[in-house]
């Protein structure tokens, strides 16, 4: 519990509303409650009464609810004053609370205190922020699941298994004379394999969730001068990218955040992929390839009026799902269009693109269909059961953890240096701890001694 100060803030949104809530947390809560309500409040009871100033004049009236530590949101004593939602009246009550000894809370400070007081772990604390920021129903549901600790539980279950496996391994290393050698036990390796599968499942659910919170990363790619920058500008409604008909204009990766139907999208425009002697442009192309590696979805843009260049086929070797966009349809004779349809289908097959769309950015044709398609693409992911709200940070940590667990299995198969497998399991667990912010050094040896009869 905090010994130092008490914080207060308006918990509801700005603007006029029927109800406005002021939340106060900290050791001064009982005192503030007495001053403002003139009563000693019973914990967890809604009291309907006037909120008064220091002269006893009524500022507002409403419900006052007191929570005692540690059974509150922050783990400290908390007071909620639910009054009327006008900005002026709320401000008057807030000023009164501050005069009674609270200070204004920084953004997120209530949740921070909840984290510090072990009321929630880091993943849950972040889920609160996600829930508040949730821009779609799917995102909100995912955030609630994380807030409930489902994500943390899934991560903790993996963490627990990593710990168990390492305890087995450590027992074999530190007590080699004790007739407990798991290194040759097939069950041990089997459990590592099952653990890798558990990783994959959590990773998939978290990946979907991260798209809901951080947004789907959509990379626009293609050979030079097919209209990638125009597409970025058209989707974002800005003139962010410089558009010329000179191939190789875009030299760096440009970023735009847009929201389609409440779903955040992170758009990236890349340099056109082509062979070039220009050092700067080559640099841009390298970056484009990096951007492609991080994409959740790739829009492959081709020029309907030009033959498909071999560089476009290079894009076919992508990991991320893609959509093929045939641009500049306005420049194509209508007689050619049906032939194009045929080529597009073949191209789609060759690249593994999920769909082909025809459009003309210049003539603003087919852009709405593209927007719908993007919403659907993001929406398809949200249909997966049990998506967690998660962040890039979580995915990165999960990925590193899985890689280490995988390396542990390889080391075990190699057989000569099992201590390196133990080291990989240690790294795997410490990467996972970054997700929940739980770094408790659990008694590894306790686990060993609890399970095995050790000692001469």
């Amino acid at each position: 519990m905090y010994t130092t100060d008490t914080i207060a803030a308006v918990a509801t949104g700005s603007g006029r509303a029927g109800v406005g809530i002021i939340r106060i947390s900290g050791p001064a809560v009982p005192d503030i409650a007495r001053q403002i309500t003139g009563k000693t409040l019973t914990a967890r009871h809604a009291h309907h009464l006037p909120f008064v100033d220091d002269a006893g004049q009524t500022l507002d009236e409403g419900l006052a609810i007191r929570f005692d530590a540690p059974n509150s949101y922050t783990g400290e004593a908390v007071l909620e004053l639910q009054g009327h939602g006008g900005p002026v009246v709320l401000d008057m009550v807030l000023q009164r609370v501050l005069a009674c000894g609270a200070r204004p809370a920084r953004p997120g400070e209530f949740t921070e205190r909840a984290f510090l007081n072990d009321r929630m772990d880091l993943a849950q604390a972040e889920a609160v922020a996600d829930l508040i920021d949730a821009s779609s129903q799917a995102a909100a549901q995912a955030a609630i699941r994380s807030l409930d600790g489902e994500f943390s539980q899934a991560v903790n279950a993996i963490s627990e298994e990593l710990m168990t496996l390492r305890a087995w391994l450590e027992a074999a290393l530190d007590f080699s004379e004790e007739e407990i050698d798991f290194l040759s036990d097939p069950v041990f390796k089997q459990r590592v394999r099952e653990l890798l599968e558990a990783f994959d499942s959590v990773f998939e659910r978290a990946t979907q969730g991260s798209r809901l919170t951080d947004g789907l990363t959509v990379v626009i790619a293609g050979v030079a001068n097919v209209g990638k920058s125009s597409l970025l500008n058209a989707l974002s409604g800005t003139d962010r990218a410089i558009v010329t008909d000179i191939a190789g204009t875009t030299r760096d990766v440009l970023h735009e955040h847009i929201t389609l139907d409440g779903i955040p999208l992170h758009l990236m425009d890349t340099a056109g992929i082509r062979l070039t002697d220009d050092v700067v442009e080559q640099h841009g192309i390298d970056r484009a390839e990096q951007a492609l590696a991080s994409a959740d979805h790739v829009l492959i843009l081709v020029d309907a009026s030009q033959p498909v260049l071999p560089e476009t086929h290079r894009l076919a070797k992508l990991n991320a799902p893609s959509t093929l966009l045939i641009n500049k349809m306005d420049a194509v004779e209508s007689s050619v269009k049906s032939a194009l349809q045929d080529t597009a289908e073949r191209f789609k097959e060759a690249t593994g693109a999920q769909e082909v769309l025809f459009l003309s950015i210049k003539a603003d044709e087919g852009l709405d269909a593209l927007r719908d398609h993007l919403i659907q693409t993001a929406g398809r992911d949200t249909a997966v059961e049990g998506v967690f709200s998660a962040r890039r940070r979580h995915l990165d940590a999960l990925q590193r953890s899985r890689e280490a667990a995988d390396a542990a299995l390889n080391r075990l198969n190699q057989g000569d240096m099992p201590e390196l497998a133990a080291e990989e399991l240690r790294l795997a667990r410490s990467a996972l701890d970054e997700v929940t912010g739980r770094f408790d050094t659990e008694d590894l040896l306790g686990k060993v001694f609890g399970q095995f009869c050790i000692g001469k």
Partner: protein, 628 residues
């Protein structure tokens, strides 16, 4: 009376901690007095007759790298040497020797008696001379006052020691020795947190009454390992075999039927015993489904028939001991020469110590060994060396030195003790070291000898030997880096044939080294015969650096990242109450422990990473105005 000579440092106790403490203090040039209740038992192995083991062998090598005595004495007394984990990687390989008890004692006594600046005196110590909050000497049973600038207490299990055999119990320091009762009573008056721990020994057996015909012999290893970096197998005495036998269902039945007579289960023993070294009655109860437990039959020495049956320590009554011992294969007619017993003793919460092993409430008083809650000769010796060194350094007006967790197991040991404390006798395991891959037996000298030289612990002879090895390791490492073999070269073909691998393209020697099939001592004659003449220890060192390459780099990077934060100092009088956001509970813990650095704070149990971040931010904020 007051003894006419005043000393820089007094060490109380002549066990493994005491001897290393006295030797380390004297090596740095401090005039040192070793007070023991009995000069005949200097270097006594009170428990099993073995030195080293996994984690423990690591400590012995570190003590040796810092000029200590334990490795040398083990080489002089070892009658059965093994490398444990020899089929696993270098970080977990460990040396262990069965030692002849009397040879070990004489080796230690010889080293002590020949150490310049060191004086021995036989008298039990009853009290300390305390002036204000400083310790200024010790008073013996005869009332002789010895004055000194610092005192190191290494009293083992002697503080209020109590021995249990069934329901019979008696006050003792160990079987055959009186306890330090007066000193214990005096110590309990000091502002130090006291607790009780327990350890046990098995009944000893006359080997002439054991039937070895059906027991499994366990010979020592060949090639035979050596403990000291300066040692050689030529120093080893005659070598003997150990044997292995097992308890039976009948053994367990006998024990189960007598549990009510065990002081462990009757509540008579209040001290906490080690989980990794349970008594046989503990094993039978906790692992009831195990039908058999392993027993190592360890010879006590070359000139005695007594053996130490490792694995059946007990505090059961003597008649039960006879029954269960005789239910074990090979022991059917065994004669017990000494009953097994459990011993309880006082220890002080090591969280009351600084990293130098000086107590926080009393200045100039240092603790080492079982008094700090550890078990094991090696753990005791390691602390003794650091306590003796730092007592001397304090007298000399120098900063204390303790290795960090990434430098030595000694650092892990002391850091664990002073930040986490212990509730059971603390023993070293390799899994306690997060930088295990860096902290190996083979490189303890590379990690510590140069530092030891700087501290005045390492003599010219050891220093010269180390420098020669260190140069050779550098030289071979560099030569290897430049070495590439190409397809078509005869060397290339030779390597392919020897390993059975198809290499297909040019290979750096360092890449070849990473393959599990490749050993450097076999590779060198094939690809660079001119380098094959290096000493085996040099080739081993370079090979290990190659095999662990990526992992060592990663651990090193971790160390550096952590060190930045670890080493941020926290003032002893730091006002934790002024850090906003720290919970009451954590503030209490920090006030109790008074961590010296942010790193130590982070390792205190219950201190969350969030709290450590708050401290770091606070320190940064409060430091800012000065620089801004």
């Amino acid at each position: 009376m007051e003894f006419p000579t005043h000393f820089d440092v007094i060490v109380v106790g002549g066990g493994h901690a005491g001897t290393e403490a006295a030797l380390a203090s004297a090596r740095t040039g401090a005039s040192t007095l070793l007070l023991t209740h009995n000069i005949e038992t200097l270097g006594q192995m009170s428990c099993n007759p073995a030195i080293g083991g996994i984690g423990k062998g690591h400590l012995v090598k570190e003590i040796d790298a810092l000029g200590g005595a334990m490795g040398k004495a083990a080489d002089a007394a070892g009658i059965h040497f093994r490398t444990l984990n020899s089929r696993k990687g270098p970080a977990v390989r460990a040396t262990r020797a069965q030692a002849d008890r009397s040879l070990y004692r004489s080796a230690i006594r010889q080293i002590l008696e020949n150490q310049p600046n060191l004086t021995l005196f036989q008298q039990p110590v009853d009290d300390l001379i305390v002036e204000g909050d400083e310790v200024r000497g010790a008073i013996t049973q005869l009332g002789v006052k010895f004055r000194a600038h610092a005192v190191v207490l290494t009293v083992g299990t002697f503080l209020a020691g109590k021995i249990h055999v069934g329901d019979a119990n008696s006050a003792a320091g160990r079987a055959g020795d009186p306890p330090a009762a007066t000193l214990a009573a005096r110590m309990r008056e000091l502002p130090l947190e006291v607790g009780r721990l327990k350890t046990g020994t098995p009944p000893r057996i006359d080997a002439r009454t054991i039937d070895y015909t059906h027991l499994q012999p366990q010979p020592g290893d060949s090639p035979r390992p050596v403990f000291s970096y300066l040692g050689s197998v030529d120093q080893h005495p005659q070598q003997v075999h150990c044997h292995i036998t097992h308890t039976s269902e009948r053994t367990h039945d006998i024990i189960r039927a007598a549990l009510h007579r065990s002081p462990l289960f009757s509540g008579e023993i209040e001290g906490v015993g080690p989980r990794y070294c349970p008594s046989i009655e503990d094993k039978v109860v906790r692992f009831a489904d195990k039908t058999s437990h392993q027993i190592f039959i360890e010879p006590e020495g070359l000139t005695t028939h007594e053996i130490y049956p490792n694995g059946i320590s007990t505090s059961l009554p003597f008649d039960v001991q006879i029954n269960y011992v005789q239910s074990i294969k090979g022991f059917e007619n065994a004669h017990i020469t000494r009953p097994g017993y459990a011993i309880e003793y006082d220890y002080f919460d090591p969280r009351g110590l600084s990293a130098s092993l000086e107590t926080k409430p009393l200045k100039r008083l240092f603790f080492a060994g079982q008094i700090n809650g550890t078990t094991g000769y090696e753990e005791a010796a390691a602390q003794g060396l650091i306590a003796g060194l730092n007592a001397a350094r304090q007298v000399q007006g120098l900063e204390p030195w303790t290795p960090r967790r990434d430098e030595a197991y000694i650092g892990v040991l002391i850091d664990d003790l002073i930040t986490r404390g212990t509730r059971e006798p603390y023993r070293m395991f390799t899994s306690r070291a997060e930088y295990r891959l860096m902290l190996r037996e083979d490189n303890a000298d590379m990690r510590l000898t140069a530092k030891g030289r700087e501290l005045g612990l390492v003599d010219d002879h050891r220093w010269a030997a180390f420098q020669a090895k260190s140069l050779a390791v550098d030289e071979l490492g560099k030569a290897l880096k430049a070495l590439v073999i190409h397809p078509g070269q005869p060397e290339f073909k030779a390597v392919e044939e020897a390993t059975g691998l198809s290499l297909s393209r040019e290979r750096h020697a360092s890449d070849l080294l990473k393959m599990p099939e490749v050993r450097l001592n076999e590779l060198l004659p094939m690809i660079a015969p001119e380098l094959a003449g290096f000493d085996a220890s040099v080739i081993e060192q370079v090979e290990i650096q190659g095999k662990y390459a990526g992992y060592l780099d990663r651990q090193q990077a971790d160390v550096e990242r952590a060190r930045a934060q670890q080493s941020v100092r926290l003032p002893v009088d730091f006002d934790y109450n002024s850090v906003s956001g720290l919970s009451n509970e954590i503030t209490q813990k920090l006030l109790e422990h008074k961590p010296e650095t942010l790193g130590q704070a982070a390792r205190i149990s219950g201190v969350t990473p969030a709290a450590v971040s708050l401290l770091a931010i606070y320190l940064k904020k409060t430091a800012l105005p000065e620089s801004a």
